[in-house]
């Protein structure tokens, strides 16, 4: 496993694009230290910012230690292995990742997991805006994988979500799941207004309630369906026992279908 320990607090934003476990595993310490990183508006070698070391453990593992609030694009494009970050991160963590597991023991900025295709992103703190969204940066919508945030999440999460699962332990901001076309969003905290605007398909489990619902979502009544049991099983499969337990404790859920403004069939369960 490769370990990067931040030497000093970052003054400018540092792009970690390309620093992926699959690229580092076979490189020597000196080779890793020479990898150029974009820092502000200049490129500097990685060794200028991090103390690099190799520790025991899997070769396709990467550990980053330090306050990375200005560290962007960590694990972006990752295809496998593990990345563990002890600290906060900037924007676009795990963007467009297709495999592996990224664990952040802290909070992350905007655009975490945007355009994600597979793998898992686990955030123990909060997440900014655009979590698991399509940010029009060429990666497209989220089409797979699992994002789990223990804390609260900003606005415009799950925009154009196509497949995959987003789990939010806290509250979810405004305009979540707009234009959603598939996938599942589960929130234990309250969801702010504008949920599911122009969404076509997909499932939102608003287990902590919603601030308000669009009038273009039709009230379909209370139901206890087999799909709820399967969603619970699916949550257990990905280790989200607390989400599964919360779902199981709901005897029946209230279903809203919409967005009728676009003849949508996405569902919000309260």
């Amino acid at each position: 496993m490769t370990r990067l320990v931040l030497k000093n607090p970052l003054q400018f934003r540092l792009s970690m694009a390309g620093i992926l476990p699959q690229n580092l595993g076979s490189q020597t310490l000196s080779e890793i230290e020479k990898i150029p990183l974009l820092y502000g508006n200049r490129r500097s070698p990685l060794g200028e910012f991090f103390t690099v070391s190799k520790t025991s453990g899997s070769e396709d593992g990467l550990e980053i230690i330090g306050d990375g609030s200005r560290m962007d694009e960590v694990a972006a494009g990752m295809i496998g292995g593990t990345v563990t970050i002890e600290g906060n991160l900037g924007h676009s963590v795990a963007a467009a990742m297709t495999g592996g597991v990224v664990t952040v023991m802290g909070s992350v900025g905007h655009g975490a997991g945007h355009g994600m295709k597979g793998g898992g992103l686990i955030i123990s703190g909060d997440a900014g805006d655009g979590l698991g969204s399509d940010l029009n940066e060429g990666h497209g919508p989220m089409t797979g994988g699992v994002i789990r945030v223990a804390g609260k999440v900003g606005d415009q999460a799950a925009h154009r979500l196509n497949r995959g699962v987003i789990l939010v332990g806290g509250s979810l901001g405004k305009g979540a799941a707009t234009r959603m076309n598939g996938g599942t969003v589960v929130a234990l905290g309250k969801i702010d207004s504008g949920l599911g605007v122009m969404s076509q398909r997909g499932t939102i489990l608003a287990l902590g309630g919603v601030q308000s619902l669009l009038p273009s979502f039709a009230d379909c009544g209370n139901h206890d369906l087999v799909i709820h049991r399967l969603l619970g099983q699916g949550l257990r499969q990905i280790g989200a026992e607390d989400f599964a337990a919360r779902l199981a404790s709901s005897e029946s859920l209230h279903r809203y279908l919409g967005d009728c403004a676009v003849a949508g069939m996405s569902e919000i369960w309260l």
């Binding site: 497949r163 087999v226 799909i227 399967l230 099983q233 699916g234 499969q237 069939m265």
Partner: protein
């Protein structure tokens, strides 16, 4: 060879290559699972006229099913993957979709080869008339309830009691059909009691079904007929009422013969079912079993031969 005084003929059962799929049907109660499973496996005794051979492999407790409800595993056998497509679709659509509270899951993994898996929910979804939705979920593979999860796709079709949930595609596996043995009894009652005892024992064996009514066949057949339109006709050699006018394969004193036909997912499962079935029949409560034999075509038609003496070599009480 004898077991408990019953003669075991030095015969073999001749079985054929088939293709099988497994469907897990769940419902709100064991009663409705049984109704759905029984209805779905009705009129599925023989591929000759029923399209498929089907039966209930076993029942599940709620802890064993994907949705935590009561369930049953149903095995369906056909001569090829293509021959299963329509019967599976029709049986599920008419017998399971219609049945209160049911859901349908694959029991073997669809191998992911496009065009190879059997479409189920993918076909039935059109019943939803545009109100159906699909859901992909990370779940255990169909064959087990633990281990690495795979993505499985389900269709949710709105119906009058909620939703009918149905797996998108079913996997299929190579299988064997036509394993069998014959119970020759002194009376119909004794032969039937022995057949019933055999079926009770055989139903505990996984990966096999006995597709005929109650698992028992009274109309053993031979290939062909004096009437050209018929593929099969009564096997006069095993008809006790024809002893004296037709060549017979019966031992003296036989008044009734019952056949147990076995379809299974592999040779070992059929062999084990045959073994436990024969042993149970030989220890039937009222006795009266004169011999156990098996049906074959001289070994020329099916490549799977279940030799009774080999299968029963280690059975207790064998002389």
């Amino acid at each position: 060879m004898e077991i408990n005084g019953v003669k075991i003929a030095a015969e073999f059962a001749e079985a054929f290559d088939m293709t099988a799929t497994r469907i897990i049907v769940t419902a709100d109660s064991a009663q409705w699972v049984k109704i759905a499973a029984t209805t779905m496996t009705g009129f599925a005794t023989s591929v000759i006229a029923c399209g498929v051979e089907a039966g209930i492999e076993r029942y599940f407790l709620p802890t064993e099913t994907p949705d935590g409800r009561h369930g049953a595993a149903i095995l369906l056998f056909g001569f090829s993957r293509d021959s299963l497509v329509e019967p599976v679709r029709n049986r599920v659509s008419q017998c399971v979709l219609t049945c209160p509270g049911t859901a349908c899951f694959a029991g073997v993994t669809a191998d992911g080869i496009k065009g190879s898996a059997i479409p189920l929910g993918r076909s039935l979804r059109y019943f939803g008339d545009g109100f159906q939705t699909a859901k992909r979920l990370l779940m255990s593979p169909p064959e087990r309830q633990s281990g690495a999860a795979i993505e499985r796709r389900f269709w949710r079709i709105p119906v009058m009691d909620g939703e009918f949930l149905c797996e998108d595609m079913l996997g299929h596996v190579s299988a064997i059909g036509g394993g069998n043995f014959l119970i020759l009894g002194q009376s119909r009652r004794q032969a039937l009691l022995a057949a019933e005892a055999a079926i009770v024992a055989m139903r505990k064996i996984p990966e096999v079904i006995m597709p005929f009514p109650g698992g028992v066949v009274r109309s053993g057949s031979k290939v062909g007929s004096r009437y050209p339109a018929l593929m099969a006709s009564t096997n006069q050699a095993y008809c006790p009422t024809l002893v004296g006018i037709a060549e017979t394969s019966l031992v003296e004193g036989t008044a009734a013969v019952y056949e147990i036909v076995i379809d299974g997912l592999n040779f070992a499962a059929i062999a084990e079912a045959t073994r436990v079935g024969i042993i149970a029949a030989c220890h039937a409560p009222e006795g009266g079993i004169l011999a156990i034999s098996a049906g074959n075509y001289g070994g020329n038609l099916g490549r799977h031969h279940f030799k009774l003496h080999e299968i029963l070599a280690d059975a207790g009480g064998v002389k």
